[in-house]
Structures are given as structure tokens and as C-alpha cells.
Symmetry: C2
Subunit: 232 residues, 2 copies
């Protein structure tokens, strides 16, 4: 384990999915004391929040908070409104209806507030711009703009206590590379869920964009897929 940042605090956004679990493992490897944050934004896959809690515990975080934000009140997404999650579609250049308007902006905004409260200047997000659904708020241009915003937004920076750094360690990795990295760091992927439309037991559909990307990732990585899929 690297000790370069020992005792330095970080806030890690944790969704219960594969990418954020890996991101937490990277932050821990780099010696950060991790404060994990999950946002309950009315997503259909609420079982992810329980898995996020498990990941935070398994990976030795300092604490885990869940903050609710009622994005259902504005709607506009298959993940928060009454629309069907698309299955078996080709992942192409179009941004799909699973896009949640301004989702990562909202998540990072709350993350920034939490970081300021605990005195952290390092924020971690599992955003990925390679094997992803084309969401604009996963791209480096967005992440850079948020970091710039963070550094003029808070009392902590105005008072000169530090500069915020937004870490997205997975942003340029393929899904297979992410899985290899996490496996090497001991992430238990059986306790993560990426599916946009799991059943009540938390079994994955296997056919939404997110399942398709994850499934292929395990195959390409040559690592056995521990995901529990719904029986057809």
C-alpha cells in the first residue's frame, strides 16, 4: 500500500456499482482515509445503496453517509421516472433515456459539501468515458469544469485552507481494465450491482446497457463473472 497520502481525507462517491467500488479501492490503495457518500436520488435500483454500505464496510472506510435528493420531483429519466429501461439496444453515439439530467453535477455538489464538512479536499468519482453510456457528465471536460467550480465555491478554498482535487482514476480505462484493477486490489464484485433494472432480490437483468458493458468486461478481463443474473 502506498503511503503517500496517509491520513489525508477523501470523499468517495459510492453507488454500489462496480466502478465506484473499484474507485474506493484505488483511494484506499493510495492511502486516503475514506469518507464514503451515497446519494439516494430515487433511482430504481435502490438495492445498490445497501451494497454501497457493504463496500464501505468491507473496504475499511471511516464512515458512510447516505443523502437523499428527490430527483423524481423533476423526472426526465428512465432511472427516476416511469419509463421502461431499454434492453438489448446497441450502445451507440446517442445518449439513452437512462441519462439522469445533471445527475453527476448534483452528486458532486453534495460530495463537495460533505468534503467541506469533514475537511477533505480530495473527491473521488468512478466516472468512466470509455465503456460507458455516452453520458456527458462522465467526460474529462465535465470533470475539469467541476474541479474549477469547486475551487471558487466554498469557504474552505476562499479561506485558503486547500485546493480541491477531483480524482476520476477510471476515466480512461476500459471495463476490462477496471475489473482487473479492482480484482488485484481485492474488490468483491459479487457485492456490487451495475444493472439499471434489477429485480427485488438484486439480481441483474443482463440486458440493459450497464449489464452488457459489465458482462463483456469480465469476459475481456478473463475473470469469472460473479454477477447474479435473473433466471430467464
Amino acid at each position: 500500500m502506498s503511503n503517500e497520502s496517509t491520513n489525508r481525507k477523501a470523499v468517495v462517491l459510492l453507488s454500489g456499482g462496480l466502478d465506484s467500488a473499484t474507485t474506493l479501492a484505488v483511494a484506499r490503495r493510495d492511502g486516503f482515509a475514506c469518507y464514503c457518500l451515497s446519494i439516494d436520488y430515487g433511482q430504481r435500483h435502490r438495492v445498490e445503496l445497501e451494497l454501497a454500505m457493504k463496500q464501505a464496510n468491507q473496504q475499511g472506510s471511516i464512515e458512510h453517509r447516505i443523502v437523499s435528493v428527490e430527483l423524481r420531483a423533476i423526472g426526465g429519466s428512465a432511472l427516476t421516472a416511469d419509463m421502461a429501461v431499454p434492453k438489448g439496444r446497441t450502445i451507440d453515439a446517442q445518449i439513452p433515456i437512462t441519462y439522469v439530467p445533471a445527475r453527476n453535477t448534483v452528486l458532486l455538489a453534495i460530495c463537495l459539501g460533505y468534503a467541506e464538512v469533514v475537511g477533505a479536499f480530495d473527491l473521488f468519482i468512478g466516472a468512466n468515458a470509455v465503456d460507458y453510456s455516452g453520458y456527458p457528465d462522465c467526460r474529462p471536460a465535465f470533470l475539469n469544469a467541476f474541479e474549477a467550480l469547486a475551487n471558487v465555491a466554498t469557504k474552505a478554498t476562499v479561506e485558503g485552507r486547500g485546493r480541491f482535487q477531483l480524482h476520476a482514476p477510471l476515466v480512461r480505462l476500459s471495463k476490462a481494465e477496471i475489473i482487473k484493477l479492482g480484482a488485484a486490489l481485492g474488490v468483491d464484485y459479487s457485492e456490487t450491482l451495475s444493472c439499471y433494472d434489477p429485480d427485488a432480490s438484486g439480481a441483474a437483468c443482463g440486458r440493459c446497457d450497464s449489464c452488457v458493458l459489465r458482462r463483456k468486461g469480465f469476459i475481456d478481463a478473463g475473470i469469472e463473472d460473479p454477477t447474479r443474473y435473473q433466471s430467464k
Copy 2:
């Protein structure tokens, strides 16, 4: 009434306070079809949300939404945690404990999501950097950084449907100038509340930073103060 932007949609952040009520009046004057948004972030002064609803109605908005975000779960402010609101202090260079970590970042993030859902590209916020409490997220540097973020954050901009513009028409006005402007536009300030620590009936304390600024604003504007203060 200017017609330059007739039928153009805007989202207006409405808190129930004096500044945002005036901001809504400016957006209406400029011909925008206004979608009002209030954020219930666990503030003590919840009576403001009812006043926000009244303002939205009085001023002929298209709709008014309230979105809850549980900022109490991260704490860190006299407005959302169990700390006393300071009274009778001198408003100086220090940022007071009524500062809510990353508050305007969170508010604008949700505002951006709502704008994307309704197809608006104009966001209005009543931020003011003259007669204010020194909050960093009221300054032009912050507002400019948020506008830059908005324009890389969403499907709406990636798909080239428009560019977001963040309007803060009060940012360089004194409180007296804001009150004169709103009064000229017919804003009913008796139906607004700025106090950080109102009683259950919605009467203002008269002594917190926000009350002090507001009180002085009416005096300097030479306009009768319709605020209902708590009897001592």
C-alpha cells in the same frame, strides 16, 4: 414589458426571500416563461417554502416545484444543524456559521437538471455580492464557473440544443437598489421572508445578518418595511 424573450423558458430559483422574489420579477419583466424551483434542504426557515409558492403564483409562473435534498445528513451549518443562529454580530469579512457548505452549487445543480427536463436554457438566481454575508457561492467568479460547468454537463448542450445562461440580475446591486427595483415591478415584499431564524408564525427576528441587511435596505430605499417582526 420587454418582449425580447417572449415564450423563452427560464428556471428561477425561489427561496421565499426578498432577493429571489425580485429576481423572478426581473425574469418576468424580461418576458420569460418562468418555471420556479424551490429547494427544501432542511433549512430552519421552512416557512420560506410556502412564501416561495405564493410568489410563484402571484407573479404568474408556469409552475413551481419543490425538491428535497437532505443536507442535514452532512450538517456543517447553523441553518441545517443544531447550532444557534448568530444575532447582532457585525457583518465583516468573516464567513459566518450560517454558511451552508456548497449550498448554491447544490441548488444550481438541481436547477440545471430541472431546466434540462423542461427545455429551458436560462437559469435565474438571486445571488448578491454587495449587501450579503460573504458567502463564496454568491460571487461572480462562482457564478461564471457554474455557467461554464453547465455547458459541458448536459445532454442538452452536447446535442447542441442551446447554451445555458446563468442570470444573476441582482449580483451587483445594493439591498436598497434591489428593493427599489422589486417595488417598481410590483413585488409584494410582505409575502417574503429573509430571516434566518423566524418563529413558527413566520415573524422575523430582526437581528440576524439577513434581517439587519434587509431592514437597512428598506430604510436606505426610503420604502416602508412591510416585514412582520417578532415582538420583543
